[in-house]
Amino acid sequence: MDGFANAAGKSIVMKMIAEIQANKVYLSDIDGLIGDGDHGMNMNKGFTLCKERLGRNALTFTESLAALGDILFNEIGGSMGPIYGMIFIEMAEYAAKETVITAHVFAGMLDAGFNGLGDIVQARVGDKTLIDTFVPARDAFAEATASGLDFVCALQKFKLSSENGMLSTKDLVSRFGRSSRLGERSRGVLDAGAVSCNLIFQAMADEMINLIK
């Protein structure tokens, strides 16, 4: 079976939560440089709330992910609430009926998550947002799968592209809203959302790899 049981996948979300909790201050510090410093705090609040809600309940991967999306969307607000909320809700919805999460399913989830943003997010690659992490990672995973790599190898590509995408934001000049008048002052600093997206993707992929093995 090239995949893992949806029923066994709650640990993926738990891993994502642990990663965000561990990086709460780091994420706020990055956001403080050209943003408003709340990113880590809010992510931590939402993810921690999710941990409490999930508790010891036996939940599937997609149920856990839906719960996380729901909490972010309905209880956290900010930019992250709608963005990560939509992404997780749509990803979960796409695979809700699957017993096994295969590479093919996961590729579909990533597409669904991105498409779920719809017209809420106008940013594209290069605008110094979490899109700079998301899109390359998603594309690398799709390409790897299409070229016949197995799930674990495709996840390795996914991790690598996610990391590189995140790093790419450092040299970008912000073009969206808030920091657009900053010009050169926005260069040299990572984008907070790109960093959190990468943390989430790394945790997600690592635990998937664990489950697949």
Binding site: G37, D38, G78, P82, I120, G177, R181
Partner: protein, 333 residues
């Protein structure tokens, strides 16, 4: 961190509880703990809603009241309220004539209001919006739609709120609120950073002996970091960014709002206002009405924001209308 807190994650909830206990004659709770509603909204009026992150007191809940905003959606510190909270605020204030949602131009608020309006459409509730983008430091004049909202939001609420209180229709409320925004230009100066309670150390840095010209309400970097200036020089610097932007001209009548960012002593705001008033006077621009104080803050940041609104007869009447809220109470004149 020398602050008055219990668990930092609970600060917004506890603040709201304290707020509602203290202002029971003006505001009241709703079914959504993150939505605060005015107690005395006149029957049949258009609903006026706002919302935004916390940490800006009096904004946003502080402008819930008579002649101002009917409900506010409340977010975490510096964080947009949820779409659900905006939607609940719409529902709480709609009396059949629709709702004017008057908010500031931040990506989170834009997204959540957009989503809230979708929810409203599904239940047949009409919501129209005005987005304040008065902060001249955040984008060039030819990209005004990208500018952040600043303390000018207060004029938007005052003008829109007065029109709604006077029985204006939704379109009229939207028209005057938009006019207020179009006529309003703000700029901030930051002298020291702020600390989010849940983070525990300053959000960003302002080196002693320097100041950040054009800083945003959350410490977003501004136009330039310059050596610390006298009040007189600050007034010049701020007006130089604001006046050409409208442009304001001789014989214009204006409303001025000079707000502290939280920790600057009020005495110093009057010193700065004194300089601003002198310079406007020198240019033949007449201050019709002014407000000096902590009207839109950023936790314990030091510094100030200056907002100037060009007035016409309609705006004057609406500005002078009576209102009552935590942040602004004035008798009619």
């Amino acid at each position: 961190m020398q602050r008055i807190l219990n668990n930092p994650d609970d600060v917004v909830d506890e603040m709201l509880q304290g707020f509602l206990k203290n202002h029971a004659d003006i505001a009241m709770a709703t079914g959504n703990p993150r939505v605060v509603q005015a107690r005395k909204a006149a029957a049949g009026k258009v609903g006026v809603v706002t919302g935004g992150g916390s940490g800006h007191k009096p904004a946003f809940v502080g402008y819930v009241g008579r002649g101002l905003v009917d409900a506010a959606a409340v977010g975490e510190i510096f964080t947009s309220p949820t779409a659900k909270s905006f939607f609940d605020a719409f529902k709480a204030t709609d009396q059949g004539g629709g709702v004017a949602c008057l908010f500031g131009n931040y990506s989170g608020d834009n997204m959540n209001v957009k989503l809230a309006i979708r929810m409203a459409e599904k239940v047949g509730l009409t919501v129209k919006t005005v987005v304040a983008n008065d902060d001249v430091a955040s984008s060039p004049a030819d990209q005004r739609e990208k500018r952040r909202g600043g303390a000018g939001e207060i004029f938007m609420w005052k003008i829109g709120g007065a029109k709604a209180a006077a029985g204006g229709s939704l379109d009229e409320v939207i028209r005057v609120a938009q006019k207020a925004v179009n006529h309003t230009h703000s700029v901030g100066v930051g002298l020291s950073p702020c600390t989010l309670p849940a983070v525990g150390h300053p959000n960003f840095e302002i080196k002693d002996g320097t100041m950040e010209l054009g800083i945003g309400h959350h410490g977003e970097p501004g136009v330039e970091i310059v050596p610390m200036e006298t009040a007189d020089q600050m007034a010049t610097h701020m007006l130089n960014l604001i006046l050409p932007d409208h442009p304001f001209q001789e014989n214009d009548e204006v409303a001025v709002l000079l707000s502290g960012l939280g920790a600057t002593p009020i005495m110093e705001l009057y010193v700065l206002f004194n300089e601003v008033a002198k310079k406007l006077n020198d240019k033949g621009i007449r201050i019709y009405r002014s407000y000096v104080g902590n009207y839109f803050t950023s936790l314990e940041m030091m510094g100030a924001t200056l907002t100037v609104m060009k007035l016409d007869d309609e705006l004057k009447i609406l500005l002078d209308a009576e209102c009552e809220s935590m942040g602004l109470t004035q008798f009619g004149r």
